[in-house]
Every structure is written in structure tokens, then in C-alpha cells.
Amino acid sequence: MDYAAVVVLEIIYMIAFLALISAGLAIVFGMMRVINLAHGEFVMLGGYATIACSKAGINIYFAMLVVAPIVVGVIGLVVERLIVRFLYGRMIDTMLATWGLSLLLIGLVELVFGNTAVSVPAPIPGYQVGSYQMGGYNLFIIGITVVLVLAMWLVLRYTRIGLIARGAMQSAEVVSSLGYNPNTVYMLTFTTGAALSGLAGGVLAPLTGLLPSVGGIYIAKAFITVITGGAAVIAGTLTTSALFGTVNQIVSFASTPVIGELAMLVLAIILLRLMPQGVTGRFFRNST
């Protein structure tokens, strides 16, 4: 019984983890069709921002929830102004440019922080489920993800900013006819996406050792989650996070984490074969 509870908790954690690392990408790719191959590095930068602040004596929650998104958001803004904005609508070129950017960011972080793993301890102690010890910090991640997704949904669904953003997603002309400059909208959307990636990196920093190359761990998972999710940013990401998280963990428990990841990839291939437009291309078509 306790063991079942542990498995369920790990599944929920994995779903939250996937949704968290995909949120920033979902906004940038889902809404703007920009393939940002430096997404993993944005997450990594959020982690480094958090660790640097925490080492400087700043409260860790403030560092991960406020400083990390702001730092990475600003970096995202600079990247959008200097690189991405010239490449809207040119998918392959954007991929190439952001890939180069990813290598550059890894190199810069190596120069500044060195290439040894750095990390901060998790600020929340473990807790007991029956006779099992669980990481208390995982609950915090689940909580943050719920709040984040809820906030994204409310903003996109019920605010004027959300309306404009969704308009920009449809086409630039919709935004223009609403009286806004699509360039500004794109810039702000990209910045928000980067800030969310930074937040994810900050929140996840205490769980793993951080290396400049750590982005590689996140990027593949984030991409398959977002792409399999399809057009609806929130509903899509949530559905696929739930599917992948559940399959990954159940298979991991039954065999090993390696087979778990494999099962997730196989599922993604099957889903994309059956639904080339992503899950929300077929289901939940009218959702956000």
C-alpha cells in the first residue's frame, strides 16, 4: 500500500517535472513556431543564476523564484533582439542560429563557472510515507508547477494580454488589426518563454549536480513533450506530460529508468504517427 503511494507520488512528480521544463518551450515553440535549440541552456542558466545567488548569501527561494526568471528573461530579450527577430518564419535558420547560441552559452558558462559540477542542497527535508523516505523537495516542485500552469491558463484565457498573445499565434495580421505591433508581441512572448525556462532551471537546481552541459538532459524531453502536445499550448503540454510521466515512471518501476525513457520515446513516436498534428490536433481542439 505504501509502495503504491510512493509510485503514485513519483508519477505525479514526473508529470510536474515534464510540464515545468516544457512550459517555456511550449510558449516559444507552440505560440511562435520558433524552434529554440538553446532551450536547455536557458534552463541551465536559471540553475546557475540560482546557485550563484544562493552562494552569495541570497535567500534560495528568492533566488530561484525571482532572480532566475529575471536573469534568463533578460538574456532571452537580448537574444530575441539580436538574433531571433531576424529569423521569424525561417525555421531551419532559427534552428541553426539557436544551436550555435546553445554552444556559445555552454562555452561562456564554462569560462565563468568552470566545468566542475556545482550545486545547492535541497532546502526542504525528506518526509515519510509509511516506511518509505521521500524527497520533500519534489512536493515543492509539484506545487510550483500547479501554480505556474494555472497562472498561464488564467492569463491566456481571461486577460487582454492573453488574447493578444493568442492572436499573434494565429497570425501577425490579427495582432495588427487589434492595434498592436506584432514585433513587440513576439519580443515579449519570447522573453516570457525564456523567463519560464529560467524559473524551471532555478527550481530544479537543487535536484541535480549542475554542469554547463546539463541542458542536454532537458531539451529532448521538453521537445517531445511540446511537439507531441500539439497546437494548444497548455492543454497539449499537460496531456503529454501526464501521458509520458505516467508511462515513464510505471515502466521505470517495473524495470529500469533506461527502459522507462525508451518507453516514453516509443510512445511519442506512436502518438505522432497517429496524430501528426499532436494530441491537441485531434482532442481538446478548442482549448488553450
Partner: protein
């Protein structure tokens, strides 16, 4: 005999080589001695490779400052393999064929060693592998200065089973080092009437250990032993401590500390992990203090000095000692010197090559992580690589060229 194209080419190659030999000899009289290295100075494995590259530089500068070898200076030709196996093969070819180095010290993972070992054997370039590994390599052209399981794994098993009990859970990296080390662990555990609850393998990029930690608790072992490797696997120690398990089930490791993991974890997370190895910065000998002072002067920060950097330093000095004794760079003469039983005193104590296996007898320290330091609990002097010696006798079979594995 039919004359195939391959025979013809081989013949032509030999002739060309023979023609070039006298020339090379004359040039070599005054030229620098070339020492090659292939190490991961960047990428996922550079926590291991960077300090090894520095150790190479330091050792070569040491020898040059003392007047070089045979009256000649040494030039280090170091290639960065970027944690990419394909680059190992490429740069090994380059060192052997183009740079024509006199000796190579390099390779980190066992996969990388196996990718380059045969290249140097075919090219008759003496090869030193200076890293702890799973043991068993039996090749006259290859000298090993790192520890093998009989040296560093058995003491852990022995100590931990006495202290904690006989049911063990094994976690290991999923490539030849982890797999073979897991076999040795099982062998030593079962030899002492213990049981292995389960063995799990993880590829080098796995960073989520939630399900594994739950499964370990389900199996409820007396202790857990990790042969995990690299940056991503650091997450295990992190998540283990975050769940509070580090207070409940004790942890031992065959690799912890080698990549300076103890510095990345906080004291609360790392304290109590049991390890065994050839080196700790806490070794109180003058040789070690002297070495660390030299490192400090050359590179500033000694925090990153780890066991395999010291092994690399040993390897180069050992080779230099061979050259001094033999009075030549000729490979056959050097191999004879190695097989006469050569030894040096290094930062980690005496390193004595066993003629039969070309592996080193080393001082082994049983250590516990305490306050981000590797505190020595117990030291065994000159522990032999008996696992490899069980199968390998290069004096009797000089043409042997394989890696033996433990049979269970």
C-alpha cells in the same frame, strides 16, 4: 601463397618504415622527446580529464626542470578528446602515425582505453593507462598505474560487510567499467556469504533516480554501493540525501571522490560515504605536501586534484624512471626495464610495477567523506592487483592481448 593486395601493401609499408628508420634516428638525437596524451579536457567527462591534463603538464615540467631525460627535453603533445569516443580513435592514430610520439599516457573511461589500446600496440608505441578501472587488461605494451577491484573494491566490501551487514544493493554506470565492477562486487560479497539484493545499471546521462531510490527502500538492503560515473550521476547522491535516505541506509562507492563529487555535495549530504582508493589530499607524507605545493604554484587551486590526476602524474614519472634506467627510448629495452620490477615514490606513496601483469602494487586507503574531505580511516601498504594476476602472466605469455573478466 597468393599475393593479395593487402600483403603487398603491408610489405610496402614495412619497407617504407625500414627506410625511414635510420633517418628518424639521426633526427632524434637532439630533438625533444615526444610524450603524447589523449584526455577529455572538455565535455561530460572533463571533471576527470581536466586535472589529468594539468597533472601531465606538471609532470613534464618537473622532469624538464630537472634536466630532461637522456639530456633531452620532453615535449607534451596533448589532444582534447572532448568526451567523444570517436575522437579517441582519431587522435590515437594521429599520435602514433603522424606525431610519432615516444610514449602515450591517456584514456579515461574503459571504453576509451579499449578504443585506443590496440592502435598503440600495432604501432609499437608504449602505452600507459593511469586510471582506476575494472582490471584484467593483459597486454605487454600497456602499463597500468590505477587501482583494480582487488585493490580498491575488496577492502570496501570487507569493511562495509563487517560494519553494516550482508545484504547489498548495487548501482553502476552502464558501460564496461560499471558492468565488470558490479560483477567483482557481487563476487566479493558472495565470497563473504553476503547477498546482492539487486544490481541496476544507468547510462551516463541518466539524472533522475526517484524510482530507483524507492526500489532500494523496497528491497531494504543493509547498505548500498555505487559505481556511478560522471556529472549526471551526481544527481543520485543529491536525491538520496534529499529524501533523507543518507541517514537510514549507509552508502559506499567505488568511484565517489574521483570526480571530486565530495566538493559538489554539501557536508550534510556527503558525510559518511565510504570509499577506498589510492589517494586523498589528506595523506600526511612530505611527498604529497610537496606535490600539492607545486600544483598550487603552477595552477593556483589544488581543490580539484583527484586520484586519477595523481595516477597520471605517477605514470609519467614512472615512465621517466624507466627511461633513465634503460638509458634509451627503445620500446623493447623499456619493456625489459618495466619487467625488472620498477618503482617510484609518488604523492600517493610507492608505485611498484608487477612484472607479470604490468599493473601496480599501490597503497590503498579506506576513507570516509567528512566535511567535504576524504578522511583516511585505515591504510593498507602495497596491495597487489591480485585479480588481474589471477589470469595474466606476461612473463610466460608475452603475446597475450586481451582483457580478462571475473568468472562467477
Amino acid at each position: 601463397m597468393a599475393l593479395s593486395r593487402r600483403h603487398l601493401l603491408a610489405g610496402a609499408g614495412t619497407a617504407a618504415l625500414a627506410a625511414s628508420l635510420p633517418m628518424r634516428h639521426i633526427v632524434a638525437q637532439n630533438a625533444e622527446i615526444k610524450l603524447g596524451s589523449v584526455l577529455d579536457n572538455s565535455g561530460n567527462l572533463d571533471i576527470y580529464g581536466k586535472p589529468m591534463v594539468m597533472a601531465t603538464t606538471l609532470a613534464v615540467e618537473d622532469i624538464n626542470a630537472a634536466g630532461g631525460l637522456l639530456g633531452r627535453q620532453i615535449k607534451a603533445i596533448q589532444y582534447d578528446t572532448q568526451s567523444d569516443i570517436a575522437l579517441y580513435t582519431k587522435f590515437a592514430q594521429q599520435l602514433a602515425r603522424e606525431d610519432k610520439v615516444d610514449v602515450v599516457h591517456g584514456g579515461i573511461t574503459s571504453a576509451s582505453r579499449e578504443a585506443i589500446r590496440q592502435t598503440f600496440k600495432r604501432a609499437n608505441v608504449l602505452y600507459f593507462y593511469n586510471v582506476l578501472y575494472e582490471g584484467g587488461v593483459c597486454d605487454r605494451n600497456c602499463v597500468v598505474t590505477g587501482t583494480t577491484p582487488a585493490q580498491a573494491v575488496e577492502p570496501i566490501v570487507e569493511h562495509a560487510m563487517k560494519k553494516w551487514g550482508n545484504k547489498v544493493y548495487i548501482l553502476a554506470a552502464d558501460y564496461n567499467y560499471g558492468q565488470i565492477t558490479a560483477k567483482w562486487l557481487q563476487h566479493y560479497i558472495e565470497q563473504r556469504k553476503g547477498t546482492v539484493a539487486a544490481t541496476n545499471f544507468f547510462p551516463l546521462d541518466v539524472a533522475d533516480f526517484g524510482s530507483t531510490i524507492a526500489k532500494i527502500q523496497e528491497a531494504n538492503p543493509k547498505w548500498v554501493v555505487s559505481a556511478l560515473v560522471g556529472g549526471a550521476h551526481m544527481a543520485f547522491y543529491r536525491q538520496w540525501a534529499a529524501s533523507g535516505m543518507n541517514k537510514k541506509i549507509p552508502l559506499a562507492s567505488t568511484t565517489f571522490g574521483v570526480g571530486n563529487e565530495h566538493l559538489a555535495l554539501s557536508p550534510a549530504e556527503g558525510d559518511g560515504i565510504l570509499i577506498a582508493g589510492n589517494y586523498s589530499q589528506e595523506i600526511p607524507t612530505p611527498a604529497n605536501k610537496n606535490f600539492l605545493a607545486k600544483w598550487q604554484k603552477r595552477f593556483g587551486d589544488t581543490k580539484i586534484v583527484h586520484e586519477i590526476a595523481v595516477s597520471q602524474y605517477h605514470g609519467i614519472h614512472l615512465w621517466a624512471e624507466c627511461v633513465r634506467k634503460a638509458g634509451t627510448l627503445d620500446r623493447a629495452a623499456l619493456l625489459k626495464t618495466i619487467e625488472s620490477g620498477i618503482s617510484i615514490e609518488g604523492p600517493a606513496g610507492k608505485v611498484a610495477i608487477e612484472p607479470k601483469t604490468h599493473h601496480a602494487a599501490l597503497d590503498i586507503h579506506l576513507m570516509e567523506v567528512k566535511g567535504q574531505k576524504l578522511t583516511i580511516i585505515e591504510t593498507v601498504k602495497q596491495r597487489p592487483p591480485s585479480d588481474t594476476a589471477q589470469y595474466c602472466d606476461l612473463l610466460k605469455n608475452p603475446d597475450e592481448n586481451k582483457q580478462f573478466e571475473v568468472k562467477i
